[in-house]
């Protein structure tokens, strides 16, 4: 199942909603790396709240996506890693290395806003529209 990607101001928000096949993860990678250019996005949030398993493949792919997004000039943050999933990841020795994480979508947005020094994403959008 394809992961829906929402454009919110200068950010892209991808919400993983079901158990993903490996091919879905790779599809998400390709879509994000492309869309970050198409929409000139500054930040990407990947919401993994619904993911009940983070195995070696999914964590490696998420790490790869974050690195590719950074190479495209944007910043990615992973939000919503569940307590049990965090426990299993540490047991297994899975590392996201330098990829930023935040508790939930709200924290993820505020993390990106701080990075971008933009007061509020929605506001900048409105301003743009009013000057048109």
């Amino acid at each position: 199942m394809e992961v829906p990607i929402l454009k919110q101001g200068s950010y892209l928000i991808a919400t993983i909603q079901t158990a993903l096949h490996d091919s879905d993860m790779l599809q998400l990678r390709d879509a994000l790396v492309t869309k970050v250019g198409r929409f000139r996005s500054r930040g990407v949030i990947v919401d993994v709240t619904s993911m009940d398993v983070m195995d070696s493949f999914s964590s490696r792919t998420l790490r790869d996506i974050a690195h590719m997004i950074r190479l495209r000039g944007a910043e990615m943050v992973i939000v919503g890693i569940q307590p049990e999933v965090a426990f299993a990841m540490v047991q297994l020795g899975l590392m996201l290395e330098d990829v930023p994480t935040a508790l939930d979508l709200e924290e993820g947005l505020s993390f990106l806003n701080q990075r971008m020094r933009i007061p509020w994403v929605g506001q900048t959008e409105k301003k743009k529209q009013s000057t048109l």
């Binding site: 070696s56 049990e84 299993a88």
Partner: protein, 144 residues
């Protein structure tokens, strides 16, 4: 009583076999394992540990043997209950099982986390392997 048991068994299967030959099967194996473990009343943390182990074992099959199967079974031993995950393939086999169990060891360039990772997630992991004949990994998690 035997009749009632059989009825219960029919409604809640105690075992399940999932053939593994593509990445979609990994999700199926994981979901079947979660359903069985949930039935036993494992904690939510253990559920995630078990499903992650199933995922890694299924991934190993795809990676090294291309195809095989995952057998999931509820077991009881002296009143304690647990789930057994058997990952079986007829792949190339493991030349040095002791080495394959060492942390950080991987012949695939660290694509998977290998067997040491699964060992940390489960209570007991046994490996039977013959070069050229295949590998059977048996991983057990007991309910605490």
């Amino acid at each position: 009583m035997g009749g009632a048991d059989r009825k219960e068994e029919a409604e809640h299967p105690l075992k399940s076999t999932v053939p593994i030959s593509s990445d979609e099967n990994i999700v199926a194996a994981r979901q079947n394992g979660r359903a069985l473990a949930l039935q036993l009343g494992f904690s939510s943390t253990d559920l995630v540990l078990i499903t992650t182990a199933i995922s890694e074992l299924a991934r190993n099959i795809l990676l090294y043997a291309k195809r095989g199967e995952i057998l999931l079974e509820i077991v009881s031993d002296n009143g304690r209950k647990g789930i057994i995950v058997v990952a079986r393939d007829s792949g190339p086999g493991i030349a040095n099982v002791d080495r394959a169990l060492q942390p950080g060891f991987s012949t695939s360039g660290n694509l998977g986390l290998g067997l040491p990772g699964v060992r940390k997630l489960m209570d007991d992991v046994r490996i039977l392997s013959r070069v050229g004949e295949g590998t059977t990994v048996t991983a057990t998690k007991w309910k605490r």
